[in-house]
Amino acid sequence: MKLSIIIDNLESASFVKGAVDQVTQHNTQQAQRKAAMAVLAHAEAGEIAARLRDLTLPAHQDLRAPENGLVMLRGRVGGDGAPFNLGEATVSRAAVRLASGEVGFGYTLGRDGEKARLIALCDALVQSRDFGGLVERSVIAPLREQLMVRHKRAAEETAATKVDFYTMVRGEG
């Protein structure tokens, strides 16, 4: 398994993206992995670790020890036009391989290398036939639930500040 060492990988990345998109079955698993990562990236390292601790995990090793770096965040002109560089963010990444061969990748905003490693481990488990279901049930689903509760709460607080316009009738109706 070759790990990316390229910095500023956008052009080569766009090429690989096109090639990958042709494989449908691959895409189903990819969508699952992506959905899991979307939840894990929002969780704290401690929360992921606590849920993994209850499982009997297969043997695994670090393929890439956690490392910190930067990602240039991009916006679009007018919100929907050509991209521009807004500013960077710190990002931590790691890769983990299960003894059975599955390789998982962990990327997250911030500088918490342990969190990146745990995401990588979960990503590897999601791909495993033996552990995919278990990690979804025991780790991803509860964290997703927790995230949704948090988002719902924030949305409700926001909703309370929505203006309800009403018309004042002046003079005698």
């Binding site: 390229i6 910095i7 993206k17 992506k34 770096g69 930067l70 007018g78 203006v163």
Partner: protein
């Protein structure tokens, strides 16, 4: 001319030791923690992230603490830190239309789809100092209401459907996105570079420039079409994974300024626009940015460009507070030799002046 000055080591060491003591202040007072800065001085953190051009709340909080609350010094620290890390690449462009909105107002449409959402704002406060905040203040639990599932489309998208506003410029095929942290700035600069420059530009500078356009120096008749603040998801195409991986969410503020319309014999008149985007809740910054972005489009839109805010070289060369403070503050570093040579020249000129103006009689008497 700069020369090495030696002999200050002890003084410098002791000055930094004194700084550390003064930064800590009276040690009977509790030390401020990074969490406290991040949670309770959140807008200062947002500004340091925006202008430091690095999204990391913890680092920005540390920088504010280290800089004793001097935000430009903190921004400087953050900029220096970012130079120590490798760059993995660039994110997929964020979708502000899909933002989990915490605040969203439009001054152009009262009944905008999704509604006017005030969120946490200073607007409509009376700006009276609140003594109850001085100590032990416990806020009420925020009110809640049923969350709406209605989408909150951008105002400009709604106007755009009817062709009433110009559309955003599309990326040209194969065009790379300009990055002023990688290549030196050249003029004229593209909109991508201008927006990057403004996004990390000094809020005070942009505020003054934006204000100047309102006062008549490059007027562009703005309406705050929409200001929104909230969380957007970030994805990064990770080459090793082979797909765009989610990195988590960041908070952004976006301002869509709707400006004076233009038209021609061949094009129907439509509103023009200016754009502002920044990390965190940075409303004043993004509004100013949008005004200046629009002003800098003067030439592109066939307007006379006579005002400072319309001069891209002027704006872009002076917007960066780290560059500006570096050049202004370097004046306090030793310039002894420089100054000695000026002093020598001045003495010589004064002597020549005195000689030329001494009356002839006095000269003769003296001889």
């Amino acid at each position: 001319m700069y020369v090495a000055v030696k002999g200050g080591e002890r003084a410098i060491e002791n000055a930094h030791r004194l700084l550390a003591d003064r930064r800590r202040g009276d040690q009977r007072v509790a030390e401020v923690t990074l969490d406290q800065i991040s949670e309770q001085l959140g807008l200062a953190v947002d500004r340091v992230m925006s202008e430091g051009s690095l999204y990391d709340r913890e680092l920005a909080s540390l920088a504010i603490k280290q800089a004793r609350g001097d935000l430009i010094e903190a921004i400087f620290l953050v900029r220096a830190f970012r130079a120590t890390l490798p760059r993995f690449g660039a994110s997929e462009p964020v979708d502000t239309g899909a933002m989990r909105v915490q605040r969203r107002v439009s001054s152009t449409f009262k009944d905008i789809p999704g509604g006017q959402i005030l969120g946490p704002t200073f607007d409509y406060t009376h700006r009276l100092l609140d003594p109850s905040l001085a100590e032990g203040f416990v806020p009420e639990t925020p009110a809640t209401a049923e969350a709406s599932t209605a989408p909150t489309p951008r105002v400009t998208d709604i106007l755009g459907r009817d062709g009433l506003i110009e559309s955003s410029p599309e990326a040209e095929d194969g065009a790379s996105v300009g990055d002023l942290t990688r290549e030196p700035l050249n003029f004229p600069a593209g909109r991508d570079l201008r927006l990057q420059n403004l996004a990390r530009g000094d809020e005070g500078f942009l505020l003054a420039m934006g204000y100047s356009t309102q006062r008549g120096y490059g007027r562009n008749h703005p309406f705050a079409g929409e200001i929104r603040f909230g969380e957007v998801e970030v994805e990064f195409f990770a080459e090793d994974a082979g797909f765009a991986v989610p990195l988590g969410a960041i908070e952004l503020t976006e301002c869509q300024m709707v400006n004076q319309f233009k038209g021609s014999a061949t094009e129907a008149p439509c509103f023009t626009r200016g754009y502002g985007l920044a990390f965190g809740q940075s409303e004043r910054k993004t509004m100013s940015m949008a005004l200046v972005d629009r002003a800098l489009r003067a030439r592109e839109l066939g307007e006379e460009a006579l005002a400072p805010a319309q001069d891209e070289e002027f704006v872009m060369s002076h917007s960066d507070n780290v560059q500006a403070t570096g050049f202004v503050e370097h004046l306090k570093l030793p310039h002894y030799v420089d100054f000695q040579s000026e002093l020598g020249l001045l003495r010589k000129l004064r002597k020549e002046f005195a000689d030329a103006n001494t009356p002839v009689a006095m000269k003769e008497a003296a001889e």
